[in-house]
Symmetry: C2
Subunit: 296 residues, 2 copies
């Protein structure tokens, strides 16, 4: 199976599960729940849930309980996009080719949709009616990884550094930490949550964590690159917005070609972390290559 | 001990614990962490953590592990205040007698401080280095109650209904649901988390939940009342802001005296839920009375 077919199939499985598990209904909450669903079901590659599932499967775990866990990652990712797009943050009015959440539901509605999705991520992981085969110990580990990856020492912290760095002449070390928190932490967290689901040994957990760090970096470097080289139509969001907000990026430090090299290196580093694993890890190998291939 | 002394002592214990467990440091995250600490340590009555501890103690649990659990409630409550005060929401510039978070740290900073505190609430409950005496089963139950109370079917949903109801002529049933979600859910959740910590039987859990529902209602009714009758100086936030935002409130439906009656009734309902319990519940009885006494 090609990686494109693999991603297509997994995306469908993830989105079907999201339809099943997402909140719906309740008269007075109709608008609020619609606002959450609008962004959650606006498309997207579902990279984080797929990574989580792919790692669990690489370790031999094919249980349905991976799906609510994978979905919790997409809830967190989606909330972060909604809040990042707000006028007070990146002020974007286009996301995945559609009006951003606050354009559609107003700023207050978008803030609350984000808050609701963030909280719902933890609801999914602690819901006694879901993932009945998971032990409480496993759930707590998953929740800890999600909270750490998403919180102030992870994604939220990265966004805080990002906002403060706008228009600043930041050193590369700051950009590195920014990327590692803002995008890297949740991608690494996705891989770690898959490893927990798959019952990884401490050594396996460490190897996957390293893999997660490297593909997280590759992912953000390629994002930086696309913001420079792709069109708005290709991206589904405004191209060139980083330069407009005077954001530090890899291309600003290394140029387009140098940045491609850095992305390639990160992918190679990711691949080397998987050397000890068998062919069940092939989707993870292909995924790493695929992240790099996006830049063309 | 008077209830004032009790609240004073417990507040000190809660705040000491918060100082110990709250994030600090990290060069690049200094501002972000300071923004979270600014609102978390801005004072406040610490009603939710104290309720949680008081219920646990009424059931005979005096373990230190109640403290991080109690703190998680204050993190969630504080984040909700930060986001509620934003220009896109209630647009308040004063809270507890100090500039609101976005006045001090900017809108983006305030949104992220809220996101960080919300996520940190779940971090506290899943952190393996805290509450070592809690079983994983207990942690998952606590996390589920917190996520449900704080999320779209609880506090966030209540705020969504509140925002949509501004300037609308809403029926009383809507106001009732608004209050029960926006303020009631997390207060009830605080009581339930205390009951979980104390190892409540299902019957005890139900009785405490009912108690939580009634004091949550009493609390919000008195808040409505104070917004009409108290001065800005007394409140530490802008008095009369509900009327200005054309918010539906109990006084708008029942007048000041009728609203006092409703508050009194809610307190009596709360007290009757505790009839089966012994004197260890006296602080909870006094707390219910104290909520009512605030209105004078």
């Amino acid at each position: 199976m090609t990686i494109k077919q693999y991603l297509h199939d997994k995306k469908k499985i993830v989105e079907d599960a999201m339809s099943r598990y997402m909140l719906s209904g309740d008269d007075l909450l109709d608008n609020h729940i619609e606002a959450m669903r609008y962004s959650l079901f606006a498309g997207g590659k579902r990279v984080r849930p797929i990574l989580c599932i792919a790692v669990a499967e690489a370790l031999g775990c094919t249980a349905d309980s991976t799906l609510p866990v994978a979905m919790s990652l997409e809830c967190i990712h989606t909330y972060s996009l909604i809040h990042d797009d707000l006028p007070a943050m990146d002020n974007d009015d286009l996301r995945r080719g559609k009006p951003t959440n606050h354009i559609k539901f107003g700023e207050a509605g978008a803030i609350l949709a984000g808050d609701g999705l963030l909280t719902f991520g933890f609801d999914l992981l602690s819901n006694p009616n879901l993932c009945a085969d998971l032990t409480a110990e496993t759930r707590v580990k998953l929740i800890q990884v999600l909270a750490r990856s998403a919180g102030s020492l992870g994604m939220v912290g990265g966004q805080a550094i990002d906002i403060e760095s706008e228009g600043q002449n930041i050193p590369f070390a700051t950009l590195r930490q920014l990327h590692s928190c803002k995008t890297g932490a949740l991608i690494k967290g996705s891989v770690q949550m898959g490893a927990i689901l798959g019952g990884a040994t401490p050594e396996q957990y460490e190897a996957f964590s390293q893999y997660g760090t490297h593909i997280g970096l590759a992912f953000q470097i390629v994002d930086d690159l696309l913001n420079v080289t792709a069109t708005t139509e290709q991206l589904g969001k405004k191209a060139g917005s980083d330069a407009k907000l005077e954001k530090a990026t890899y291309p600003a430090f290394f140029g387009v070609e140098g940045t491609r090299e850095k992305a390639k290196q990160a992918v190679n580093d990711a691949l080397s972390c998987l050397e000890q694993f068998d062919t069940k890890c092939n989707p993870l190998r292909d995924l790493a290559q695929y992240i790099y291939a996006r830049n063309k």
